[in-house]
Every structure is written in structure tokens, then in C-alpha cells.
């Protein structure tokens, strides 16, 4: 079937793009990168606190996704999210195991221009530092809820857990962050 024969609404849906890539249209994979790189980058940046690491995780994840594209069952976005989320957790595990910690001075910000960089607030830096003290599962839940703005239902769908469990994680994360930051900011 040629692209002109596909109903307009379906031309760019994930499954069609995947079929095109599997049929040899390598460049079509760029559609999937363009569609999902921003939200996934925000997730990786929130989880790692480092733009460079977030970029590496995304690059590795998309390449892995390309190699295993034929194994996608169900929603591609959820499958891809899990690859990125696992990449973030693996990085956090490794950095803890080796007792490496990234120096704050080595962290370029996630903002695009120097002007925006100047606007990076003290609260943002403190929030990053406080997030780094949370267990990965709490940090993940907080980032998905407060930074990515996802609903609990969407989070449960992506993470394969229950709304109740995620609410508990978000509430515990809030409790910890408030305790760490409230004295300075409230």
C-alpha cells in the first residue's frame, strides 16, 4: 500500500510509521523521534538532573528501539517510555554504586539559550538537589506528575502499576521535598 492509499488520519500513526521503517524506510524513524523526544527528554532530565546524561539516555534508547522495532506489541509510546525510564534507573543505580556524584558546576542547564539559563531560579537548583535525594521510584512519580503533568491513570498505564500506588509515591515525594525545602521557601 502506498502512502497515498492510507487514510489521512492514519498516515502518521505510530504503527504505520513502524511498518514503514520495518519495510526499509529508515528515514521514517525520524517521525517517531520528533514525536516523542521532547517529553522523553524532560523525563530523563528530571530523573538525572543532567542535560548531557539525558541526551545520552535518549540517544541510546532510540537506537535500542530501532533495533527492536519489530518486537513492539501494543502502544509504541508506552514501550519507548519504558526503555527510557529503565535507562534512567540504570544510570541512577550505577552512579550510586560507584559513589559518583556529578558536581553542580558541571551541570549545564536544560534550557536552550543563555538568557533562559540566567532565569534558572535558585528554587530550581534546590529542587534538583532535593529530587536527587529521593529514591528513584519517588523521583520518577514526582517528575511524571509535576513536571510532565501526567494524570495518575496515564502514569499507571505507562509504569504498569496502580493509581493508588502512584498516589502514595507522589505523596511521599511531596512530603520529603517539602520537608527539605519548606524552611527556605515557605
Amino acid at each position: 500500500m502506498t502512502e497515498s492509499e492510507i487514510p489521512p488520519n492514519d498516515v502518521d500513526n505510530d504503527q504505520n510509521v513502524i511498518s514503514r521503517v520495518l519495510a526499509g524506510d529508515r528515514d521514517a524513524f525520524a517521525l517517531l523521534i520528533g514525536r516523542y523526544s521532547d517529553p522523553l527528554y524532560r523525563h530523563a532530565l528530571g530523573m538525572t538532573g543532567s542535560p548531557d546524561v539525558a541526551e545520552d539516555i535518549l540517544q541510546t534508547s532510540f537506537i535500542k528501539a530501532y533495533h527492536h522495532l519489530g518486537e513492539v506489541r501494543g502502544r509504541f509510546d508506552a514501550w519507548l517510555f519504558r526503555i527510557v525510564a529503565n535507562g534512567c534507573k540504570d544510570w541512577l543505580k550505577n552512579i550510586r554504586r560507584t559513589h559518583l556524584s556529578y558536581d553542580e558546576d558541571d551541570q549545564p542547564s536544560g534550557y536552550a539559550t543563555p538568557d533562559e539559563d540566567l532565569d534558572r531560579t535558585e528554587l530550581r537548583q534546590d529542587l534538583d538537589a532535593a529530587l536527587a535525594q529521593l529514591a528513584p521510584s519517588l523521583r520518577e512519580a514526582f517528575i511524571m506528575k509535576h513536571v510532565e503533568g501526567r494524570s495518575y491513570e496515564e502514569m499507571a498505564d505507562l509504569l504498569g502499576t496502580t493509581v493508588g500506588a502512584l498516589k502514595m509515591r507522589v505523596h511521599r515525594a511531596r512530603e520529603a521535598l517539602q520537608a527539605l525545602l519548606e524552611e527556605k521557601y515557605a
Binding site: 521503517v21 520495518l22 519495510a23 524506510d25 529508515r26 528515514d27 524513524f29 525520524a30 523521534i33 523526544s37 521532547d38 522523553l40 527528554y41 524532560r42 532530565l45 528530571g46 542535560p51 541526551e55 535518549l58 540517544q59 532510540f62 537506537i63 530501532y66 533495533h67 527492536h68 522495532l69 519489530g70 518486537e71 550510586r96 536544560g110 534550557y111 536552550a112 532565569d119 531560579t121 528554587l123 530550581r124 529542587l127 535525594q133 529514591a135 528513584p136 519517588l138 509535576h146 513536571v147 510532565e148 503533568g149 495518575y152 498516589k167 507522589v170 505523596h171 511531596r174 512530603e175 520529603a176 521535598l177 517539602q178 520537608a179 527539605l180 525545602l181 519548606e182 521557601y185 515557605a186
Partner: protein, 109 residues
């Protein structure tokens, strides 16, 4: 006496366990420990009303009534997380990924 010795032995074992647990705990990052992070006074803890407000299940007025300080704090955090929500992936990322992909198509399962 036996009972006393037994209790003393148990106390000793408990001390050993406590020391060992403390040593193990000290080696682990704070976030992995199953304890609350800092000590927090009860009045400072986030209340159900505030959590419900943050989850969109209660009004700000209700939350303020329960814990005004916490509402002020989370309003400040929300401004910052809103900014984070607009961060975009670096422009060169797509080109880097495409350049790193193999020339041949992935295998269909």
C-alpha cells in the same frame, strides 16, 4: 538465672544487630533507606487537603485552610515545574540519533 542469661544474650545480639544495621545503613544512600528523610514537625507535614488540592481533588481554599504555608510553598514549586515542562530536547539530538542508526532496516519479528 537461665532466663536472665538468655535475656542478656538476646540484648547482646540486639546490640550487635543494631551496630551491624547502622553500619549497613551508613553505606547506603539516604534515599534507599526506609526511613523518613529529615525529622519533620507534625504541623509541617503535608496534609491530606494539600495533597488533594495538588491532585486536583480539592479546592485551594480548602487546602489553605488546612495548611496555608504548604500551599504557598507548592505554588512556588508549581511555577518552577511549569517552566521545566517547556524544556525541549536539543535540536541536534535527532540528527545524532539518525546518524547512529544502522543502514539496514530492523528485523520484523
Amino acid at each position: 538465672m537461665m532466663l536472665d542469661r538468655h535475656e542478656a544474650h538476646e540484648n547482646l545480639n540486639q546490640k550487635v544487630r543494631d551496630t551491624r544495621d547502622a553500619a549497613v545503613s551508613a553505606d547506603r544512600p539516604a534515599a534507599d533507606r526506609e526511613v523518613p528523610l529529615p525529622e519533620v514537625a507534625a504541623a509541617d507535614t503535608i496534609t491530606d487537603a494539600v495533597n488533594m488540592w495538588l491532585d486536583g481533588e480539592a479546592s485551594e481554599a480548602d487546602a489553605r485552610e488546612a495548611n496555608d504555608k504548604a500551599v504557598q510553598f507548592w505554588a512556588r514549586v508549581a511555577k518552577d515545574t511549569d517552566t521545566m515542562r517547556h524544556v525541549k530536547a536539543p535540536a541536534h539530538l535527532m540528527a545524532n540519533i539518525m546518524a547512529a542508526l544502522p543502514g539496514k532496516a530492523p528485523l520484523a519479528d
